[in-house]
Symmetry: C2
Subunit: 257 residues, 2 copies
Amino acid sequence: MSEAANTRNPDGTETRCPHDYQINCANCRLNGICLPLALDVHEVDQLDEIIQRSRPLQKGEHLYRQDQPFTSVFAVRSGSVKAYAITDSGQEQVTGFYFPGEIVGMDGIAKNKYASSARAMETAAVCEIPFDKLGELSQRLPSLQRHFFQLMSQEIAEDQQLLTLLSKNTADQRVAALMLSISARNKRRKLSAANFRLPMSRTDIGNYLGLTVETVSRVLSRFQKLGVLAVDNKEITITDAEQLRSVADGAAGIDGG
Amino acid sequence: MSEAANTRNPDGTETRCPHDYQINCANCRLNGICLPLALDVHEVDQLDEIIQRSRPLQKGEHLYRQDQPFTSVFAVRSGSVKAYAITDSGQEQVTGFYFPGEIVGMDGIAKNKYASSARAMETAAVCEIPFDKLGELSQRLPSLQRHFFQLMSQEIAEDQQLLTLLSKNTADQRVAALMLSISARNKRRKLSAANFRLPMSRTDIGNYLGLTVETVSRVLSRFQKLGVLAVDNKEITITDAEQLRSVADGAAGIDGG
DNA sequence: CGCCTGGTTGAGAATCATCAACATCTGTGG
DNA sequence: CCACAGATGTTGATGATTCTCAACCAGGCG
């Protein structure tokens, strides 16, 4: 099972190499996700000019750290990123997982310093977008301004969905919802919705979902036993998407008893 | 205890009557919260012109409803507002409480329809800010654009703090944190940080914090027994702010021996 | 006055966390 | 290629926190 590496590219979703420094917004395969195509060619070029593409980040490297001065937001180009905050009482809280085409760092705008840290969960390439320049450009490109308002609003709406998940749902529902979320985001990038590799550890999943590692592990085992998922380490195959959805929606009939 | 209505104005924070239609941003006592004073007089006037001030809303009236076309964000001028979403499975999730000076409705921008509903928890006055006009104005006023980016970022950061609360904290910590949050927001409006009236029901508190009504009630009773709070119905007095903070931060020593 | 909504309190049950042991994977160095 | 160590993941037994169900109390309104 663990050799099914052929159906997707573990490093990203690009036809061109995602580590190519010369890639630009116009030819980036992710631009339908990252910028929902409201810009014309000339405008995209202007955006392109302010974006900085650095060398790929190694697993564990930081994009930015909590409390550092806010300068940029980042678009994930390949690989994956986790955002996490250390609370006053010193505990870590994973606040999000970010995949290619998604934007991370928007929580830093308010206070002009990052409210969380972001680090690569695997080798990753990112586009750094200096926010002051983005602001200036948005002054001239109404659709870009609108787009960024939308991106931020989307993050708000998603966080509020997550709130509901944590506030109302059982461990089974939370894990099911995360699997479906990752599946949907994979699909959006034209990858398999049924089969993917989790870039994060069980610990991170538990932290994100407000569960312990043990509970995450148990839930995944149970899902496997019930034929909803096939779990091989970090390799996940959704074997019964409909039932997975019904679990996530709270159809209680998955007590295995 | 319940007659201590003299120290604050239950309807809002205005020196002028908050229901006055003629109030404007320049003379609004909340403008330090709502717009962190980055605009000059002339610019405030321009903002003022696009803002619609309607009659006050009665308790229970809606500002907007989930799935309606998105048109405006709303600044609370007096009273208080709750935002809530109905999930696919039909359950209600309270996503936020909004007090004078705060902005609600920003979750609607992404999909061009409101992701939640908002209703007045008591008689309330709001400023309706049509978003298309706000966008246009932001094109011309860089500091306004920046301000709105900041407001949205703040909402993201706050939601993520709430995520941590729901994901990691006990019932005691959650309730303590909410009391402290309301206290701080009261203080920001130059009202008592120690004494306030909760505009929302226990049910709403529980819903928001991911707890049952019974648990909220028990926690408040326990806090009262421990001398941290005085609870008289919806009237709350913080009698030991320091201990309340230490509970919220997870100092476990509040087991009542 | 009685009904209805909202709030409090109690007893038992369920979910998930904790603690502990063990298994597996990864990478390193021989 | 194998052996080993540390990190990561799984499984089991037990217990605590919170939910559920139920009774009861208080206040507002017809």
